[in-house]
Subunit: 253 residues, 2 copies
């Protein structure tokens, strides 16, 4: 068997998340269905980062194994064309790479980069409505930057993990960077929060962004973040920012 990975972008609006679920439209379900049609047998996939319903990806990486010569016979371009013809229109398979046999998109990732788009303008977005969280109140970005500094480095992020997912599992993660920039999508003003880390807990980025926005709104002081980390309790952090503003942007191997 040989291991390959595909680079996948998807608009998450239509999907019940990445992970395969019986009877639901999922990204993994679509990819595995296409692989099954191409290779004429069941192909299991592993992804770099599971995404929830509504969450998007530009740089999702998905690995799978096929027999040695199945891909070579076909050729990469033909494989990509077939995949894109077979999957849902809101999924785009952008690249395929040969990997070492033991490669796993999940376990071999060095770090993951997420970006969260907050639409900062008075009136609701019409183009980026599915790609951002509309916060009309002007946020204090300097305070958010200060708050973010408390989260950089290795910490127990249990307070930022969906409670059910955290039970009995390690909840330490290493966050390398949280930074802020401005972007504009078709004339709509965005505050972009970039979050880079070795790995992330379930809905961790959304909980971080939801908490940072509380600080940006002036509802909490920046150093409140130290209390949130210390609490090791999901109730201590802010609510999850909505899924539609989140993008799995890049995974580094």
């Amino acid at each position: 068997m040989t291991t390959y990975s595909v680079l996948v972008a998807y608009n998450g609006a239509a999907f019940s998340g990445f992970a395969r679920q019986p009877g639901q439209l999922t990204v993994q379900g679509e990819l595995e269905h296409a692989l099954q049609l191409i290779f004429r047998r069941q192909v299991e996939t592993v992804c770099a980062g599971r995404t929830d319903a509504g969450v998007h990806a530009l740089g999702q990486v998905v690995s799978f194994q096929v027999a040695e010569d199945e891909m070579q016979q076909r050729g990469s371009s033909a494989f990509l064309r077939s995949m894109n013809a077979l999957v849902h229109d809101d999924i785009s398979v952008r690249d395929v790479q040969l990997r070492p046999c033991e490669f796993s998109a999940r376990f071999d990732a060095k770090y993951r980069e997420y970006r969260y788009y907050i639409c900062q303008q008075d009136t609701p977005p019409v183009f980026a409505a599915n790609f951002s969280w509309h916060v009309s109140q002007a946020l204090n970005v300097q305070a958010m930057q200060q708050a973010a500094q408390y989260l950089i480095g290795e910490h127990d992020f249990k307070s930022f993990c969906m409670a059910a997912s955290a039970e009995g599992k390690p909840t330490h993660r290493n966050v390398h960077e949280i930074s802020f920039s401005q972007d504009c999508i078709l004339g709509e003003n965005m505050l972009v929060v970039k979050v880079v880390g070795n790995a992330f807990l379930h809905s961790m980025v959304r909980a971080i962004v939801g908490s940072l926005v509380l600080v940006g709104r002036g509802k909490r002081e920046p150093n409140w973040m130290t209390d949130v980390l210390a609490a090791r309790n999901r109730q201590a952090a802010g609510e999850n920012a909505p899924g539609q503003g989140l993008f799995l942007w890049h995974v580094e191997y």
Copy 2:
């Protein structure tokens, strides 16, 4: 009576164009319905540029008249909030301005700016699918720039006007600028064609872009544009570029 104008953005995907049509979801229908609910009687609107089904706007300007004190009593912010609460979610009313009594959004426009988004990448866009025309073949932008030069200035654009709309009407227009730039929407690569002119015929920008893309693909030489202009026949130009790539970007008064 007093004249006001509103600045309107809309995602055209859901609408059968701007112009009111019985039994159809249209932008004008939505705006007039909201104005009727707010001012408790029928309010007629005039727009800067009618847009076809699927076409978007960031800077549509719509004028209307109400009795002198109806707007003042209400206040601009409250008016905008009411409008946005009443219209379809894919419409955003972004500003309201008091105008001279005789002002018309259509007849007082000095020039109009449209932008057309062409998605230039191998695989289909997933975020900008409703906001661009996917052309996977790399276009020769230099040739397109040369071709565009033939269209600058005052010309008879009958060849670029939907045939039925051109009959018996003046078809001279003054195109001030056609320029090209690169943009990126959520990681998807765009060639943006900016077209500025005093006014435009029905589907004129789409016919211009469709023709420029023929040149960019190497199917026509740049100086073919002179033949197209001279023909005064819609069959001479390229096919209309699809509506979903087009944005009415700005109207200057």
